[in-house]
Amino acid sequence: MIRVNGLTKRYGDLTAVDNLNLEIHQGEIFGFLGPNGAGKSTSINMICGLVQPDSGQIFIHSQLAGHEHKLRNSFGLCPQELIIWPRLTCLEQMIFMGEMYGMATHTARKAGSNLLEVLGLNSKMHKLAGTLSGGMKRRLNVCLALVHDPEIVVLDEPEAGLDPQSRIMVRDFIRGLRKTKTVILTTHNMDEADRLSDRVAIIDNGRLLLTDTPENLKRTAGSGDVLELTIQIEDGRDMQAAGAVVKGMARNVTISDATIQIREKNAIELVPALTAKLKDLNFTCAEIKMRANTLEDVFIQLTGKRLRE
């Protein structure tokens, strides 16, 4: 669907994007992860045809896309900033944007009404956008990106500033786009990327560090899952004996008081064997806690810093 070869963009001495190579498949939700200034927005803007790359090529459906390429109509961009017309009603601006994309007024009206309804703005259709609440404006921002039924939807931090209710609505909406549209998602929110993305690209200092599915990334990178076992210690029992059993089954083990902490990739897979072994030795697990390896752990391992730093 989208193939990017050696995309580079410099602003003076700063290399915003450095030799970016990636492929985005049709119908997938592709997450772009990276801290501020990592080069996410520049990459997206180059792919959308809004910024001219210094070097590199972008192919959309195997067709080379130049600057200001004609395929820009294939994109629907929902920027992080609220970009709406405050003195137009929700429906009026949907119709306006539809017309700008060459749609007939009645088609734009229909598409606009449907989108507003899906994102819970049907009761605000005839209200001025400037009078909407922050969450509603954000949802309108998303609607405006989709009115012309683009093939590729670019959502820049779509959940930023949303209340929980709106977040669920937007998240469901994005999930609904899967298969019918190709979605490029840029976000700081690891949870958002993990829940929504079919594949994730981690970018930092303009460079692509890794691309894979969130599951694969969590399985292969990061510091691993954290498994905590609290042992019920009976009189006279030696905690060290339980520790020795666990150390024999896992590598990264810490013991403190009655708690054994294991840090290992796919640690959950160890739980049945560990509990069985401990039971054989007459140790009882009073509590088992599990924190799965997150994309943030993966990111920290890859970049040496937290995403919000």
Partner: protein, 382 residues
């Protein structure tokens, strides 16, 4: 003290708004310069046309004192006073309307007879010279005084006495019948259109300031489509502004006299040209605040140096037909004011304002082409 903190902060912010600061403080000096350049280039010349209707006297040796008067007047020609003969009244009126001359003096048929008649100095019926021109024009007034003085000197020289003569003034169009208030209406109509410059620029820059330009860029809307759409609405605002101006004037006693269609055409072209010029202001601004500061420059220049507020007489660089092209011809309101003066005061028809209409069309195209190019370069491509 907190005030020193505020002073330091304000100083830094002001210095860092370098271009705005420069524009603000350079506006008045720039005006001084422009005004000086315009007045320096303007050396007043008073043009008198003479139409000799004198039949002369054949019985006394084919004498025509009208010709003699003209020859005598020619002696007064210098850098500031030009004397020219015309063969017909129509020829003279055309020149007067195009401001190629300031006054037509018509020598009466019985001029020789009057001067040769015995006892002419005691004649109960003084002969009459006719002065024709835009009698509201300052140049006409001075030229009329000069002409009256020259003729008086001639008659005194020929007869030895101050013969009784009078002159009648004929205003071209309705110039003689209008009061001062009515004479300012053409300029005020154009002034109301000039004021459109700021609203048009604000309408254009709003998309940039709101960042909605990003959405429009992605939709591949062209600069021409975007600006064309904004222009249509601004033209309507322009017409509304002109209509309100005329309505208020009508309530205060102004009576519209002139050809409606040519007036509407001039208003339309002027409005379009001002909106097109607004593209430049929008191109060099990024916000409404910047529009208001940058826009002051052309706004005041268009107001004060095009004849909209005050009469402007600038020596032409060259002429096309009878129409003079000068430094102020680069500004569309100059032609618009001239056209409305002809249409509303001199009662000209469409053909009379063809040079102005042509100039307005040319400037509209020029402003639009350049404006679209600059706006696209600065806001649509970046």
């Amino acid at each position: 003290m907190r005030i020193t903190g505020v002073i330091k902060k304000s100083l830094k912010e002001q210095a860092r708004s370098f271009w705005l600061l420069l524009l603000t403080v350079s506006t008045a000096p720039f005006f001084v310069l422009v005004y000086d350049l315009i007045t320096e280039s303007y050396a007043p010349v008073y043009d008198i046309l003479i139409l000799n209707n004198d039949k002369g006297m054949i019985d006394t040796g084919n004498i025509n004192l009208g010709d003699t008067l003209i020859q005598a007047l020619m002696l007064h020609e210098d850098k500031s006073c030009k004397i020219g003969r015309v063969k017909s009244r129509q020829e003279a009126v055309k020149k007067l309307k195009n401001k190629k001359a300031d006054l037509l003096m018509v020598i009466p048929e019985d001029f020789t007879g009057f001067l040769k008649a015995p006892g002419s100095g005691d004649s109960p019926e003084p002969f009459k010279l006719e002065f024709l021109g835009n009698i509201t024009d300052f140049n006409y007034i001075i030229t009329a005084i000069l002409a009256h003085s020259f003729v008086s000197d001639f008659l005194l020289d020929r007869t030895g006495i101050q013969p009784p003569f009078s002159f009648t003034e004929t205003g071209i169009g309705t110039s003689g019948a209008l009061n001062d208030f009515e004479l300012t209406i053409p300029g005020l109509v154009i002034f109301s259109i000039i004021m459109l410059m700021l609203t048009a620029s604000v309408a254009m820059i709003a998309e940039v300031e709101n960042k909605t330009m990003l959405r429009l860029k992605l939709s591949r809307v062209t600069t021409l489509e975007l600006m064309g759409g904004i222009t249509v609405i601004q033209v309507l605002v322009g017409f509304l502004s002109v209509a309100l101006t005329l309505a208020v004037a009508a309530v205060l006693g102004y009576s519209f006299q002139g050809s409606v269609i040519p007036v509407l055409l001039v208003v339309f072209l002027t409005t379009v040209s001002i909106i097109a010029f607004s593209l430049f202001i929008a191109a060099f601004s990024k916000s409404v605040t910047q529009v208001l500061i940058i826009g002051n420059f052309p706004l005041f220049i268009f107001m004060f140096f095009t004849g909209a507020m005050f009469p402007m007489n600038v020596s032409p660089w060259f002429t096309i037909g009878d129409y003079g092209i000068s430094v102020i011809s680069m500004m569309s309101p100059t032609h618009a004011v001239s056209a409305l003066n002809k249409l509303l005061i001199m009662q000209e028809g469409f053909t009379g304002v063809l040079p102005e209409v042509g100039s307005l069309v040319l400037l509209c195209v020029l402003y639009f082409a350049l404006g679209i190019w600059v706006f696209r370069k600065r806001h649509m491509l970046q």
